[in-house]
């Protein structure tokens, strides 16, 4: 592997990895408070990309297809899809909160399928182009060209995640979130409005996924109803690698997975068609040897 290739894959890995990290972070946050995986998370990401595209197409008429349009699309999509997350929580997770875990999982799966099925029905399964003119200006390192767009995307993801970390560790709501994740019953007794905290967590987690969706759509220039499926799987892998429930863990896991995938698929004999197999292998290995992830803590269940 030449140095150029290493740099190129490093850049690719960081970009993909920062998308993974955003989605994984939402996964992890929701898991933290309700102790369940949100199966709909991948489809929330997909919805975010579509909402972003719709907003972008409308706004583009006035502000053009440049940065301003993308930022508008990002913000509106995060807000709208965040609310979608709240709706899913309210009508799917909340009625099932005391149901057996198996029933909750299947219900969540149903919600995910409804989102996915709606997108398929509305788009007819077509790929939609997300045409931006963000330009290809950038800097050259050796023969590798890194565009400003790529840098901004990585920086924006990091900023979103840092903001989230600050929110969780500094604000009252963040404190309430952590309290609920440790002991829901005790939090309720201490006067925390648990329902509201859970709804807020869904909002933030879904908004992050939507942010990731818009950025990925704009970066790759295309959105598709099935884009959330593999993304959900990979974000889960990233969250497991980092340690599910841990905010820094999700970031670390996402970036590591992105790099792993970039370098893994450039190895001889592996090739890009085996990329997903590679990722899945990593997931299984982690589950066998380090199920708590790199930054996760093992939890002793009380009997």
């Amino acid at each position: 592997m030449t140095l150029d290739l290493v740099i190129q894959q490093l850049v690719n890995g960081l970009i993909v990895g920062s998308f993974y990290a955003l989605i994984a972070l939402g996964y992890s946050m929701v898991f933290g408070v309700i102790k369940l995986l949100n199966f709909a998370h991948g489809d929330i990401y997909m919805s975010g990309a579509f909402v972003g595209l719709i907003v972008f197409s409308f706004v583009g008429i006035w502000v053009g297809n440049g940065w301003l349009g993308v930022v508008c699309a990002l913000l509106v999509s995060m807000l709208a899809v965040g609310l979608l997350g709240v709706v899913i929580e309210r009508f799917v997770y909340r009625p099932m909160r005391n149901a057996p875990r198996l029933s909750i999982l299947i219900t969540a799966l149903g919600a995910s399928m409804v989102l996915n099925g709606t997108a398929l029905a509305l788009t007819g399964g077509r790929h939609y182009a997300f045409n931006t003119d963000l330009g290809f200006a950038g800097v050259d390192i050796s023969t590798v060209h890194i565009t400003y767009t790529q840098m901004v995307l990585v920086a924006a993801s990091i900023a979103l995640m840092a903001g989230m970390q600050a929110f969780v560790s500094r604000t009252m709501y963040g404190k309430a979130m952590r309290a609920v994740s440790i002991d829901m019953g005790a939090s309720r007794l201490m006067g925390i409005d648990v329902d509201r905290v859970i709804a807020l967590t869904f909002f933030m987690g879904s908004a992050l996924a939507a942010g990731g969706g818009v950025m990925a759509g704009a970066y790759y220039g295309s959105v598709h109803f099935f884009m959330g499926f593999i993304m959900g799987l990979k974000a889960f892998t990233a969250a497991v690698i980092g340690g599910i429930g841990s905010v820094p863990g999700a970031m670390l896991g996402g970036l590591l997975l992105g790099l792993l995938e970039a370098f893994g698929s450039s190895l001889p004999f592996v090739g890009s068609e085996w990329r997903d197999v590679f990722v899945f292998g990593a997931l299984i290995l982690f589950l066998v040897f380090k199920p708590t992830g790199l930054l996760g803590r093992s939890v002793v269940e009380r009997v």
């Binding site: 995986l37 199966f39 999982l105 149903g110 099925g117 029905a121 085996w274 299984i284 009997v303």
Partner: protein, 319 residues
């Protein structure tokens, strides 16, 4: 109300159970036996699909309904069976019947590879890992030469039994009927045995089950492997019926349909699962004109059942 039934003298109960179950069961079986004599090829084809789904749903029911494990990649084991049998007959000239034990063994090994690391962990991890596994099996099938790549495997030999070659729809209808009956018998036998009860104990309270001396990981792994074996046998027969298989027959959607069948009728109970499987097989026929709306209808059905009738259309009155 349910308690009233249970407080009847124990001696009366089995008899009551027997007639209320056996009579409709026999009637259904009689209908199933004579169906191809009266139905046209289209109806027989749909009925054969329904029987295939009955086998698959009964198999998945062991994993989901008995042991309480959510498997989202069940079609992968179906694929393992179909491809194992297909490759062995088409490429290596194996006798079809000999491929069945090989397929079962392959499914067992695949079940252990996926199940052993994951079943020690939380049940929702299993769901995602099995979902990933389903995709991986499909990707592998699409990228290997021996599986025929994306276009799939063709020229799978039709099976012969005592010199009689299974050719027509009716032949496969009866073959699947035998397999469905066999599967139901197997499920019924296990359900009322020590291991079957162990699955229910683990499903209802894992810690209590461990505290009473049940190895929860082994119990779950056995359920998972049992489900895998049943799907693989169904896969063998499916490959023989189709004579050509492609990766697209074993997608995530296939896994979802099988799961829907289990959930729709009522998890954990054989009559409910059979009903669910039949409904799932009819679904594409009913939704023929729906096109891209089809997955949405499936999804809404699943969500509605879980939210409004979580025990299914034909729920368990056993306890």
């Amino acid at each position: 109300m349910i308690d009233e039934v249970r407080t009847m003298p124990a001696a009366v109960q089995p008899q009551l159970m027997r007639w209320s179950v056996v009579l409709p069961g026999l009637a259904a079986l009689a209908c199933a036996l004579v169906l191809p004599q009266f139905a046209n090829a289209y109806v027989t084809e749909v009925a054969t699909t329904a029987l295939l789904y009955i086998v698959l749903c009964l198999g998945l029911n062991i994993v989901v309904g008995y042991a309480g494990l959510l498997d989202l990649g069940y079609a992968a084991f179906f694929a393992v069976g179909a491809y194992t049998s297909g490759i062995l007959t088409a490429e290596f000239g194996f006798n079809f019947w000999l491929t069945i034990p090989v397929a079962m063994a392959t499914a067992c090994v695949a079940g252990i590879i996926i199940g052993a690391p994951t079943l020690r962990l939380r049940s929702d991890y299993l769901a995602i890992v099995t979902l990933g596994f389903g995709e991986i099996v499909r990707i592998i099938a699409r990228n290997l030469d021996i599986t025929g790549g994306a276009s799939g495997l063709v020229g799978i030999e039709r099976p012969e039994i005592f010199g009689f070659k299974l050719m027509q729809v009716q032949h496969f209808y009866y073959a699947f009927l035998v397999l469905a009956l066999l599967t139901a018998f197997v499920c019924l036998s296990i359900e009322r045995s020590r291991m079957g009860r162990a699955w229910f104990y683990v499903r209802y309270d894992e810690d209590a089950a461990a505290g009473i001396g049940i190895n929860r990981v082994t119990a779950k792994l056995q359920a998972y492997m049992m489900g895998a074996v049943i799907a693989s046998v169904a896969g063998c027969l499916y490959a023989a019926k189709m004579t050509a298989i492609s990766p697209e027959s074993f997608t995530f959607n296939q896994s979802l349909l099988i799961l829907l069948g289990v959930v729709l009728g009522g998890m954990g109970r054989i009559p409910g699962v059979v009903l669910g499987a039949i409904l799932v097989a009819l679904l594409p026929e009913v939704l023929r004109g729906a096109g891209t709306y089809r997955p949405l209808v499936t999804a809404v059905a699943l969500l509605a059942i879980m939210l409004f009738r979580p025990n299914g259309l034909w729920p368990d009155k056993r306890v």
